[in-house]
């Protein structure tokens, strides 16, 4: 039997003293053969990125390999000199990272960046190198390679930038390609194309691929084998179909169960009440371009309206407009009976408790210098409650959000992402709103945490009769949560209807494309 491209045996990496556990990785063993793809899945903090950086030899110096071996084509990587490692990176292993913008040099044009790899690792002449760069640009399906050569990273789209990074990784036809969440920052349709591309290039070069991801859908699309990691341990390893369809470990089962299904539940019957929030012909123009055009929506009490679309589709602009955090250029916004689209801030302020918001990034949605208690009473105090009333209300909400009472005097940095999102939710609910706008409120969270927050949202909605405007790029979450769904593309509403109908019989070509691109492990 031939030697595996990557052979890891009993690898352990220790964390510095004072971390939440002693080892970032413990006893990890795996073998990866040429032409094979191994997906490493796990939630944040599971050690999957540490595994990738260990193989690349890019471990931060606080982390240390305590035992085990890593062999690339039979050569032990833990013993090689820094110079040899540099030669191996690029030649024998290529790397693709999550965020293509930061992986590329912003002041160097793209062609030269790929050319630099060849300059470092080959003795080819200028002309030969140019031919090879143009060939690899063709291979990664970049349109008009001559023009792209001259372009700077900021002039390309996210998907094109990631293609440049992949071209840099693959130009030397490395034996091993390491991808660390390469599609996480991309839209679903682009993600689909990039995954296809990685597959094709792998077949052409015969490389082995080590693919790090948190997304079970991506695993289903690309993996031959799967390694499930949790807290630095290998929980389960096996062939893709075995792991996804017949998971043995309880953790894998829980992880798969937390991924929402693409099939929406049957539509709920909602009482016919006047809408709490209504927008008609809403538009927002920046300089010379319309970020949002002719948008209309309606949210009833107890109803969840989803807005789905890719980045730049105008869904966040729509949310900020209906919240009046930005002023719309055209159209009407009704909060209850009042058309508040053009009201000045002073007149609007007393009504602001009606519509509240929870944002995406748990790290930035709370003021880092404000204690949780102070943050929670702020809204209620602004709407005229006494300090004692506001505190009673806020402490009640803290309990409802399943946070300990001791959280009151602590700072946001002392909480995990999921806890912070619950605090942000409590802060919004403390104003006793009629409508809650959730702008990608669960997108930055791990699936299991995401499921908890979504349950909590539904529970709160049922109890308070809240209208929910739920903005997301995740079609699976939207399928499970929303009664109505609005599909947006390039600042316009493409399709609008009952979730079950839109998912079952999409009317528009764009909606069909969007739904088809969503990776779903249930399909295999």
């Amino acid at each position: 039997m031939q030697t595996p491209v990557l052979d890891i045996e009993q690898l352990s990496v220790s964390l510095p003293a004072g971390a939440d556990r002693s080892h970032a990785l413990q006893d990890i063993s795996l073998q990866l053969h040429a032409g094979q793809t191994l997906c490493v899945v796990g939630e944040s903090g599971s050690g999957k990125s540490v595994l990738a950086t260990t193989v690349m030899g890019l471990l931060v110096k606080e982390l240390r390999v305590t035992q085990g071996s890593v062999r690339l084509q039979g050569e032990s990587l833990l013993a090689v000199s820094p110079a040899r490692y540099r030669a191996l990176r690029g030649q024998a292993m290529g790397m693709v990272f999550q965020e293509p913008m930061t992986a590329l040099n912003p002041v160097m044009c793209c062609g030269e960046q790929i050319d630099e790899v060849l300059q470092t690792h080959t003795n080819s002449t200028r002309v030969e190198r140019r031919a090879r760069v143009l060939a690899i640009m063709q291979a990664v399906r970049l349109p008009d390679p001559e023009r792209i050569w001259q372009s700077y990273p900021h002039q390309l789209s996210g998907g094109q930038r990631q293609r440049i990074v992949i071209a840099m990784a693959m130009v030397m036809k490395p034996a091993l390609l390491i991808c660390d969440e390469p599609t996480t920052a991309l839209d679903v349709t682009t993600q689909q194309e990039i995954l296809q591309l990685i597959k094709t290039l792998q077949q052409d070069a015969g490389s082995a691929v080590l693919f790090i991801t948190h997304d079970m859908g991506v695993v289903a699309d690309i993996a031959d084998q799967v390694l499930v990691m949790h807290q630095g341990h290998a929980v389960e390893m096996g062939q893709r179909d075995d792991v996804l369809l017949r998971p043995q470990a309880a953790y894998t089962q829980a992880l798969l169960a937390a991924v929402p299904s693409m099939t929406p539940p049957p539509a709920r019957a909602l009482p016919d009440t006047p809408p709490l929030l209504r927008a008609i012909g809403l538009g927002k123009r920046y300089e010379h371009h319309w970020a949002l055009q002719d948008a209309a929506l309606r949210v009833l009490a107890g109803e969840t309206v989803g807005i789905v679309g890719e980045s730049g589709s105008g869904k966040s602009t729509l949310a900020r407009c209906v919240l009046r955090l930005i002023d719309p250029t055209a159209g009407e916004i009704h909060w209850g009976e009042d058309n508040i689209a053009t009201w000045p801030e002073t007149r609007l302020r007393p009504l602001r408790h009606r519509v509240q918001v929870v944002f995406q990034d748990p790290n930035r949605s709370l003021n880092p210098r404000l204690r949780i208690g102070q943050a929670l009473v702020e809204g209620a105090r602004n709407f005229g409650q006494t300090a004692a009333q506001a505190e009673r209300l806020a402490r009640g909400l803290l309990t409802q959000m399943r946070l300990p009472d001791s959280a009151w005097d602590r700072y946001p940095s002392q909480f995990s992402g999921g806890q912070r999102q619950r605090i942000a939710l409590a802060r919004a609910l403390a104003c006793q709103p009629e409508v809650l706008v959730a702008d990608e409120a669960v997108s930055a969270l791990d699936v299991s945490v995401q499921a908890q927050i979504l349950d909590l949202l539904c529970e709160v909605q049922a109890r308070m009769g809240l209208g929910l405007l739920f903005i997301t790029h995740d079609l699976r979450v939207a399928a499970q949560l929303c009664d109505q769904v609005i599909v947006m593309h390039q600042g316009r509403i493409v399709e609008h209807g009952l979730t079950s109908q839109v998912y079952a019989q999409p009317q528009q070509a764009y909606t069909r494309q969007l739904l088809a691109s969503a990776p779903a492990w249930q399909r295999i």
Binding site: L325, R369, N382
Partner: protein, 292 residues
């Protein structure tokens, strides 16, 4: 000790700067109890005495005390040791007051310019104009116009620093105002002044504090320069700059009259700058060590 305090104390330049600055502060505040006499008192019988010599010294009220002139006396018969120690009070006070004033004014202008986009153009063009005038020249003009006392010197040194602080705060506010927690506060109907005070200012505090130390260090120097040029405080007020100015004419015979105040001035400015560098390292997350 909280992690932040620990981080500050473990940082070499914060510790060194803090200790030196504290020593300077103590020495100048406790000057009356450190064997000094009235720094303005002149005795015609004790002109240009040698270092460490002792003798009778006549105070302005006519009393005569036995005194050791550790650093000698100057050409007017004033005790250099007393003048240097008391001079520290003025220098440090000018440094601290200037920093507070420049941060206050600049912070306010910067917050207004950064948060209210309509004001931005107006305020920043005014600041650009102010920055076009050399700082020391502007200070000299202001002292000449307002008359020389400690308050006007502080104002004169602070005004040229205001545009720099304004620019810094404006750029911080421009980023902070887009933070989701600021947007959330707006959705919670928090009045704008409260947003600025509770949500924006505390998060801009760390870089502001660092800038403050650099302002203080440069203020101590500028005050010494103004005094040395005879354009700052009146020559009878003991400041390090004044002492050096007085000693300049007989530098070859009595080099100590220039060197002794300099030996206090240099470590003070160095200590403040080191403290600022250290604070920046500890407080700025960009310089913080990353743990994977």
């Amino acid at each position: 000790m909280s992690p932040l305090h620990q981080g500050l104390w473990q940082h070499g330049s914060v510790r060194f700067g803090g200790v030196v600055l504290l020593a300077m502060l103590l020495v100048s505040l406790l000057a009356p109890w450190l064997g000094t006499v009235d720094p303005a008192a002149m005795d015609a019988n004790q002109v240009n005495t040698a270092l460490g010599s002792a003798g009778a010294f006549t105070l302005p009220d006519g009393r005569v005390v036995m005194h050791t002139f550790w650093l000698g006396t100057d050409s007017f018969g004033r005790d250099v040791y007393s003048r240097v120690l008391f001079g520290g009070r003025i220098s440090l006070w000018v440094g601290i007051a200037t920093a507070v004033l420049a941060l206050g004014l600049g912070g306010l202008c910067g917050m207004l310019a950064g948060y209210f986009r309509q004001l931005d153009m107006l305020l920043m063009r005014f600041m650009d104009g102010l920055m076009a005038i050399p700082a020391v020249l502007l200070a000299i003009a202001l002292v000449a116009a307002l008359g020389a006392n400690v308050a006007t010197v502080v104002i004169a040194i602070a005004i040229p620093e205001v545009p720099r602080v304004t620019r810094l705060v404006r750029s911080l506010v421009l980023t902070l105002r887009e933070e989701p927690y600021v947007e959330a506060a707006r959705a919670l109907a928090t009045p704008t002044p409260v947003i600025l005070w509770r949500h924006i200012l505390p998060n801009a505090m760390a870089p502001l504090l660092v800038q403050g130390t650099f302002v203080a260090a440069s203020a101590v120097l500028t005050e010494a320069i103004l005094s040395f040029l005879g354009l700052g405080l009146p020559p009878d007020v003991p400041t390090w700059g004044n002492i050096m100015a007085e000693g300049r004419v007989q530098f070859s015979q009595q080099p100590g009259h220039v060197l002794f105040p300099a030996m206090f001035l240099v470590p003070t400015v160095l200590a403040i700058n080191l403290l600022g560098d250290g604070l920046r390292d500890v407080l700025d997350p960009k310089f913080a060590k990353r743990v994977g």
